[in-house]
């Protein structure tokens, strides 16, 4: 993966996201129940969906890494999970804001989706200390992949268990008794979802390019000062870097 196409991708992301938000604020009708505060739905829900898909994709990349032994899949898995954790913070913050606006509390325990998401988020937050605690690079990559697969399998189970345990009062925006989302809302939501997905892909790509570059730099530095000490920093390496292939 290289930096090519990054410019196009970023432009497309900005355009789609702008279009989505323009539709949300200028065109889509106000929600009958919740009014203006329902608009956060177009930010919160796409972020959550993209983050969860990213977590599961990280698991798939972990699986591919174990199958093939190719380090690039491990790096992909790491970056997917990393960007999804960042999105996860945004999901929790927007979720809390929405809960405060709708129900008057920052945190609502009987709301299964928010609680499940918090559990998933906490689990994936342990990915960093776990990865960091293993020194051997190959073992680190393998164990991180095992973590990604285990956690990926955990995501749907967790959502099921939490949902079963709670009374379902989460705003059912898609399936209300009146028959679901009006067409205009659905369209705006789809555009926002696509835009958020593109944003995720762009950030992943930037991160991967950054890793590749820093990998090349440290390799060049090693070649320059080839005094047998290895050059680049040894400690503090949470993140995997891409060796040039």
């Amino acid at each position: 993966m290289s930096g090519r196409g990054l410019k196009t991708l970023s432009t497309a992301t900005v355009i789609v996201l702008m279009a989505g938000f323009a539709m949300v604020f200028l065109w889509v009708p106000m929600d009958a129940d919740q009014g203006f505060k329902q608009k956060i739905f177009y930010l919160h829900v796409p972020l959550a969906i993209v983050a969860l898909v990213g977590f599961v994709a990280g698991g798939v990349e972990g699986y591919r890494h174990l199958r093939s032994g190719d380090r690039r899949h491990d790096v992909n898995s790491y970056v997917f999970i990393h960007i999804s954790v960042v999105f996860g913070v945004a999901v929790l913050v927007t979720g809390a804001i929405w809960a405060k606006a709708s129900w008057g509390h920052w945190w609502v325990w009987d709301e299964p989706t928010l609680v499940s998401f918090l559990i998933v988020f906490l689990l994936y937050s342990t990915y960093y200390p776990f990865r960091y605690a293993i020194e051997d690079r190959d073992r680190q990559a393998r164990y991180a992949s095992v973590f990604a697969i285990t956690a990926g399998a955990f995501v749907p189970l967790n959502f099921m268990a939490v949902r079963m345990a709670e009374s379902i009062i989460h705003p059912r925006v898609f399936a209300t008794s009146e028959g679901g989302l009006p067409d205009s809302m659905l369209l705006a939501f789809t555009v926002c979802l696509v835009g958020t997905g593109l944003l995720w892909i762009t950030l992943v790509k930037i991160e991967l390019v950054g890793k590749r570059v820093s990998g090349q730099v440290s390799r060049l530095r090693r070649a320059l000062h080839d005094d047998g000490t290895g050059g680049g920093s040894v400690g503090g390496r949470i993140a995997p870097s891409v060796e040039a292939g």
């Binding site: 095992v146 955990f154 189970l157």
Partner: protein
């Protein structure tokens, strides 16, 4: 007996014999659990418990006591070279996973055989819930054992083993805890055991066990490679 099965029997017998001789895990788990009951008695300021409170106290205590055992389950293999031995032996490496999970399952069963009666003596006015509770305990033990083995084998090779096991394990067992506490809340009902939803929750426990058995079976090989 196939080679795998005899290797499994040998490994499991070795673990149980080591535990019998050294008593490294079980006594600590039991003491920890009893002390935790006392802390709950004063923390909650109750002398009897029923419903979801009883379930919560029992399962929280078992979970934390279990983590003590899970923390230690691979330590001796690391220190005494058991990992290298299993890598050299011409048997399927999943045998180690199966034997460790079985050992943990047995530790938990022994722990519960002692701790659950103590819990009943301390807090329960009515003991009729204990028989259906064994079903839940068996299901939960399987889940804890499988996941504990997986997490412990991941964490044992890291620098922060004691920190990582609870950190990784707690979020992963949340669904299991939801299922068992919800099921036992009915069992511990003040008006006698109430079986509403018990079967469904038992199914959830079974599904959870099944998923992580499969995951553990699929990935454990990679944790032993070197």
């Amino acid at each position: 007996m196939t080679p795998s099965r005899s290797a499994f029997a040998v490994l499991l017998a070795k673990d149980l014999r080591t535990e019998l001789r050294t008593m490294r895990s079980l006594p600590a788990m039991i003491l920890f659990a009893v002390t935790t009951f006392i802390i709950f008695r004063y923390g909650l300021d109750r002398t009897t418990l029923s419903g979801s409170l009883a379930g919560g106290v029992l399962w929280t205590t078992l979970l934390f006591a279990g983590i003590l055992g899970i923390n230690r389950v691979f330590v001796s293999e690391l220190e005494e070279g058991g990992f290298d031995a299993i890598r050299l032996a011409p048997v399927d490496r999943t045998v180690l996973f199966a034997s460790k999970a079985s050992a943990l399952f047995i530790y938990f069963a022994v722990l519960e055989a002692i701790i659950v009666p103590v819990f009943a003596m301390f807090f329960l006015p009515d003991w009729s819930a204990l028989i259906p509770l064994t079903l839940l305990l068996a299901g939960a033990n399987l889940g804890f054992a499988v996941l504990g083995t997986l997490i412990s084998s991941m964490a044992v090779n890291s620098r922060a083993r004691d920190l990582l096991v609870p950190l990784l394990l707690l979020p992963l067992v949340v669904p299991l805890m939801i299922a068992v506490t919800a099921a036992s809340a009915g069992l511990f009902d003040a008006a006698g055991p109430d079986y509403e939803g018990f079967g469904t929750w038992l199914l959830v426990v079974g599904l959870y066990d099944g998923v992580f058995l499969l995951v553990g079976y699929a990935v454990f090989d990679f944790l032993l490679e070197d």
